[in-house]
């Protein structure tokens, strides 16, 4: 029973962390290696918000706003010239991540920062005391996932985005302002990532490198998921589950590299990952 909860909550956390990366990769076909830096930015938004004595929950909208604003600047200055050079885009965003990390360090210092917990304590589920916050993350993942489903299926932007995913040239020919779709998608992606950064603060320490630890896992999951949020959810459940099981029954050390190694193997066998499923 604990295992089941562990698997579901681990998958939920992975989903929340990877969603922003997927939004960008799905539409723009660009891998945003500054993803870790945006998570960190989110974490520090929580530090700044609570530092000003505001309600910690307020950090969520603040982080989304800050993340998307910075994302907008990034898209225009860094990513836009590189759409035709996707490998270079990986490098440029990685470099950007270094810059953001150092700026945070110069501003806030290198220290580990602390934020009040959003929700603390445990809750009784089926006779088990389980971390309340981890269960809350499942809700957060559902909100993010459903939010995207609504955004993609129910709005004009979503329609345009889907058109760009399927056939960008055609989309442009149909009069869709693809540049705007890209900018908006990128901003939503980075905003969401910063938001995920806030959601991580009760689980991890906040320091200038906090995002880096999540980058590779999120990257691998997105590679497997392609451009579909459904596939990402499946990937998070499968690989997050594998990570939990390996950690529990074999060794947490192996568990730490489970996601990366399994994703790499899956991609070798089926280069499109779960995208077709």
């Amino acid at each position: 029973m604990t295992i089941l909860l562990d698997v579901i909550t681990t998958a939920a956390i992975l989903f929340v962390v990877a969603a922003g990366l997927l939004a960008i990769f799905g539409v723009l076909k660009i891998i945003n290696f500054a993803h870790g830096a945006w998570l960190t930015v989110g974490g520090y938004c929580a530090v700044a918000t609570t530092g000003m004595g505001l309600n910690p929950w307020l950090a969520l909208p603040v982080a989304f706003a800050v993340g998307s604003a910075l994302g907008g600047i990034t898209e225009v200055l860094v990513v836009r010239p590189l759409y035709r050079r996707p490998l270079d885009a990986i490098l440029a965003t990685w470099g950007l991540g270094i810059v953001v990390g150092q700026l945070i360090t110069l501003w806030f210092g290198r220290d580990v920062q602390f934020t009040p917990n959003l929700l603390s304590g445990t809750i009784n589920v089926f006779g088990l005391d389980y971390s309340f916050y981890r269960l809350f993350m499942v809700l957060a993942a559902l909100v993010v996932g459903l939010g995207f489903a609504v955004l993609l299926e129910g709005t004009r932007l979503g329609l345009s985005a889907r058109a760009v995913i399927m056939n960008e040239t055609l989309a442009r020919a149909l009069g869709i302002d693809t540049a705007k779709v890209r900018l908006t998608t990128f901003m939503i992606g980075t905003g969401l990532t910063a938001l995920a950064g806030v959601l991580l603060t009760p689980l991890t320490s906040v320091d200038p490198d906090m995002g880096l630890a999540w980058l590779i896992g999120a990257f691998m999951l997105v590679m497997v998921a392609g451009s579909s949020f459904g596939a990402l959810a499946v990937a998070c459940l499968v690989f997050g589950g594998a990570q939990t099981l390996v950690s529990t029954f074999v060794s947490p050390v192996l568990g730490g590299i489970t996601v990366a190694v399994l994703c790499a193997l899956v991609l070798r066998i089926s280069p499109k990952g779960f995208a077709r499923a």
């Binding site: 917990n117 005391d129 991890t204």
Partner: protein, 384 residues
């Protein structure tokens, strides 16, 4: 630029200007330290206490009539950075001694360089033990000194019988817990679980679930300092773990800022700010006066750094020169009375230390629960 770095630069510039007033060349002390990377949280406090020591010694006339001068270099908390830092200090700045706390990887990376350059190296960090070199002296604690206070206390006072051990998968984490396991088994307690997470790991879920189902009645952790320690503690508290919890890697400053999550944690250290001795009071006052608003909480790494410089001073004075071999043979014989009490690195290049068992209070302060005088470092380097 952050304040510490700026201050550092000023300090270095100031040091250069002041040189002219002294007759002979200054004695240079190299401090390769993790200004960036994992150790950068604690490094500023280490630099501060070194600055105080040098200021005090110079104000009292220096060493053999020569002024002390600090040379600080960033080792990026790792091997590659340490090579650069040691190269620069040993070969470019030509320091007379290296006195510093570093990660084990950085220390190891520096050892071949101090050997090539024939420079004494006083290592001021606690570590997993058994690093032996003719050039190396250590005044921080090793597992043999730190683990017994916590284990003894848990067994005797808390009545704990089943221990669960959790660590980061690296030399310190494994070294500490391996010793803890042996010691526990000798003490008649049972180890019901021993789990490690990769050093950069962030998800302790599976380990915490195992801990919960193990029936343990005490928990001992030895993670990497800083982020992993905080992450684990947060997740433990999130999962509602309320066992007696001994943390082998948390420092006072971190515990203080961790807030309510840290309350109740037991730590064992050779230094806590609440040591009630005149030497410690004088030290704390001097630190407060020198750094006031910029002061970093003195801790179990920065105080040995402070004492390390005094130990070096004593050795040079005993040897009558800064000649490396003379200083190295003196280093094992001299002793210094500092904030931690009287310290001498006379046990196979390691130091017997008074250890304090403390518990973090609700307000973040550390209350000393028990004192263990002169704990021996055990067999560290039998060949030296």
């Amino acid at each position: 630029m952050d304040r510490t770095t700026r201050k550092l630069l000023f300090a270095m510039a100031g040091g250069l200007l002041a040189t002219a007033a002294w007759a002979e060349d200054p004695i240079k002390i190299g401090i390769p330290v993790g200004l960036s990377g994992a150790n950068s949280v604690v490094a500023p406090s280490v630099v501060q206490s070194a600055e105080l020591a040098v200021e005090e010694i110079n104000a009292a006339g220096g060493v053999l009539g020569r002024k002390l001068q600090l040379e600080i270099a960033d080792d990026a908390s790792g091997a590659a950075g340490a090579q650069k830092a040691f190269d620069s200090l040993v070969f470019q700045k030509e320091v007379n001694a290296i006195i510093t706390m570093e990660t084990s990887a950085a220390r190891n990376a520096g050892l071949p360089i101090v050997a090539k350059g024939e420079v004494p190296f006083i290592y001021t960090s606690f570590y997993e033990g058994r690093s032996c070199s003719p050039n190396l002296f250590v005044n921080g604690w090793v597992p043999e000194q730190q683990v017994p206070p916590i284990v003894d206390y848990f067994v005797k006072k808390e009545g704990a019988k089943k221990f669960f051990l959790v660590g980061s998968d690296y030399a310190f984490g494994r070294g500490m817990l391996e010793f803890a396991r042996t010691y526990l088994e000798k003490a008649g307690a049972q180890v019901v679980g021993e789990e490690y997470l990769p050093i950069e790991g962030t998800d302790w879920t599976a380990i915490i679930s195992k801990l919960k189902s193990s029936g343990a009645d005490a928990l001992i952790t030895s993670t990497a300092g800083g982020a992993p320690n905080v992450t684990l503690t947060k997740q433990l508290r999130g999962a509602g773990i309320k066992l007696p919890y001994g943390n082998l890697a948390v420092d006072e400053g971190t515990a203080k800022s961790m807030g309510p999550d840290a309350a109740g944690i037991y730590i064992a250290a050779s230094y806590v700010t609440s040591i009630d001795s005149p030497a410690n009071k004088k030290f704390l006052e001097a630190m407060q006066k020198k750094f006031s608003g910029e002061l970093r909480t003195p801790n179990d790494l920065s105080v040995p750094q402070y004492e390390g410089i005094y130990l070096y001073k004593a050795a040079v004075e005993k040897a009558g020169s800064t000649d490396a071999s003379a200083v190295l043979s003196a280093l094992g014989e001299v002793s210094v009375a500092g904030p931690r009490g009287t310290v001498s690195m006379n046990k196979q290049h390691h130091a017997p230390l008074t250890m304090y068992l403390g518990q973090v209070q609700e307000n973040g302060s550390v209350k000393v629960v028990e004192t263990f005088p002169d704990v021996d470092p055990g067999t560290q380097c039998p060949n030296l």
